[in-house]
Amino acid sequence: MSTIEWPLWEVFIRSKQGLNHKHVGSLRAPDATLALENARDVYTRRSEGISIWVVESAHIHATDIDDAASFFEPSDTKIYRHPTFYEVPDGVKHM
C-alpha cells in the first residue's frame, strides 16, 4: 500500500516571553493542527516553549547558497558601518 506523503513543516518555538521564535527542527503532518500538536509532543517535552509556529517548508523562500558571496557582498565591504572603524581620542568616555 502506498501512502500519500504528508507535507513537511518547519517548527519555530518561543521559549519565553521577550524572546524570538527560533527554528528547532521539522516534522511531517497532514495539516497545521496536527503539525502543532506533534511539534508540542516532539519539541517541547521538557518545557522548552510557550508558543509554537509551524510553517509548511514549501512556503519558505531562501537565498541561493551558490550566490551567497555576491548576494552578501554589499555588507562585507562596508566596514564603516561598525563602531570600531572610528578613532576616538583616549580619555573620551561613554562612547
Binding site: M1, T3, W6, L8, G25, R28, D31, L34, Y43, I65
Partner: protein, 312 residues
C-alpha cells in the same frame, strides 16, 4: 569549478571546522555515508523502543512506569529528529523507512537481544544508553550541521535515560539476594553486546578512515569502546556487580582497562540477521506501518476535506 577543485574546497571547509549545511555542495560519498549512518541511527532509536515498550505494562510500580514511558517517548522523538536530518540529504522519509523494512538498512544490533527480566530494563538504561551516549556526545561535533544539531538535542535528553537505569539497578543490587542475582544475570547477558555497539574493531572497520577525515566521526570505534569500559568499570564496582570478563584489569602503563577480545563471530551473526530477535523486531516494525496506514490516510483525507471547505 572542476570536481577536484570542489572536493578540495569541501575538505578545506571541513578542516576549518565550518559545518556543512543541506544545500552546500558535498561529495556523493559524503552524502551516502551520512544517509547510511544517520538512518541507521534513526532506526536504532525506533527499534530500541520495542524491548522497553514490552515492559511498560509490567513495571513494578507507578514511578518506574511513568519513567519508562517518558524514556520510550523520548526515543520516538530522537528517531524523528534523525529522520528529519536524513531527509535534508534528499532521501524521502518513506524510502528511508522502507529500507529498514526490506532489510537493506541496519539498526544497532543490541536491540536484537531480548529484555527477559525487569533487571534488563535497568541494565539497558545503564549500559546500552551509556554506550549510546559515549558515541553521541562525540557526534555533537560532527561536520554535518543538521546531524550535529539533532545530536545536541538528543544528548540533552539522553542523560536521564542512563541515570534512571542506574538508579533502578542500585535498588535491585541493594535488595534481596534474588534481586541482586537478577541484576548480575542481566549484566552477564548485556555486557558483551553493549561493547559490540561501538562496531567492528578499527582494523576491520571499512568506513572509519574517510569518516574521520570528513569529521563525520571524531573518534574511532576502539577509542570510544575503551572510553566506555574505563567509565563503566567503577560504576559496576559501586553496584557490586561483576563484569563477565576474567581478563578485565587496570593497565597502569596504558592508563586504561584491558579487556578480552570481543566474540566477533557473534557480532557478525547478529548483524547478518541471525540474532535472537532480528525477525521479531523487523516484523513488529512492518506490522506497525501496515496497521497504521489507515490512520495516516484518514488524516490526509480529513485535512483535504477541511481545506476544501475553507476555500469553498
Amino acid at each position: 569549478m572542476t570536481q577536484a577543485e570542489k572536493e578540495l574546497r569541501f575538505q578545506e571547509k571541513i578542516d576549518r571546522e565550518i559545518k556543512i549545511e543541506p544545500n552546500d555542495w558535498m561529495p556523493d560519498e559524503y552524502r551516502q555515508t551520512l544517509v547510511r549512518q544517520i538512518s541507521q541511527h534513526a532506526h536504532s532509536e525506533v527499534v530500541g523502543m520495542l524491548p522497553e515498550g514490552n515492559w511498560i505494562t509490567r513495571a513494578p510500580n507507578l514511578r518506574r512506569k511513568a519513567v519508562l514511558l517518558a524514556k520510550v517517548q523520548d526515543e520516538a522523538g530522537h528517531g524523528l529528529y534523525l529522520y528529519s536530518a536524513v531527509e535534508t540529504l534528499g532521501t524521502s522519509r518513506e524510502q528511508t523507512i522502507d529500507d529498514l523494512h526490506s532489510g537493506k538498512a541496519k539498526y544497532s544490533s543490541i536491540f536484537n537481544y531480548p529484555a527477559l527480566t525487569w533487571a534488563d530494563i535497568g541494565t539497558i538504561g545503564w549500559l546500552v544508553d551509556g554506550a549510546a551516549i559515549m558515541n553521541q556526545v562525540a557526534l555533537c561535533r560532527t561536520s554535518y550541521g543538521p546531524y550535529a544539531r539533532a545530536m545536541v538535542k538528543i544528548c540533552k535528553e539522553e542523560s536521564f535515560h542512563q541515570r534512571q537505569g542506574y538508579e533502578s539497578l542500585i535498588k535491585l543490587c541493594n535488595g534481596t539476594p534474588q534481586q541482586k542475582a537478577m541484576a548480575q544475570d542481566a549484566m552477564n547477558r548485556f555486557w558483551w553486546p553493549a561493547l559490540m555497539m561501538f562496531g567492528p574493531s578499527d582494523a576491520e572497520s571499512t568506513h572509519s578512515d574517510q569518516s574521520i577525515k570528513w569529521k563525520i566521526k571524531r573518534f574511532t570505534n576502539d577509542e570510544l569502546r575503551q572510553s566506555f569500559v574505563d567509565a563503566t568499570v567503577p560504576q559496576a564496582e559501586i553496584l557490586g556487580l561483576t563484569i563477565p570478563d576474567s581478563n578485565l584489569k587496570w593497565n597502569e602503563e596504558r592508563g586504561h582497562y584491558d579487556f578480552s577480545e570481543i566474540d566477533w563471530n557473534e557480532f557478525w551473526q547478529v548483524v547478518k540477521g541471525n540474532g535472537p530477535c532480528n525477525k521479531e523486531r523487523l516484523a513488529a516494525r512492518v506490522k506497525a506501518k501496515e496497521e497504521g496506514a489507515w490512520v495516516r490516510e484518514a488524516a490526509s483525507a480529513f485535512a483535504k476535506k477541511r481545506a476544501m471547505k475553507k476555500s469553498a
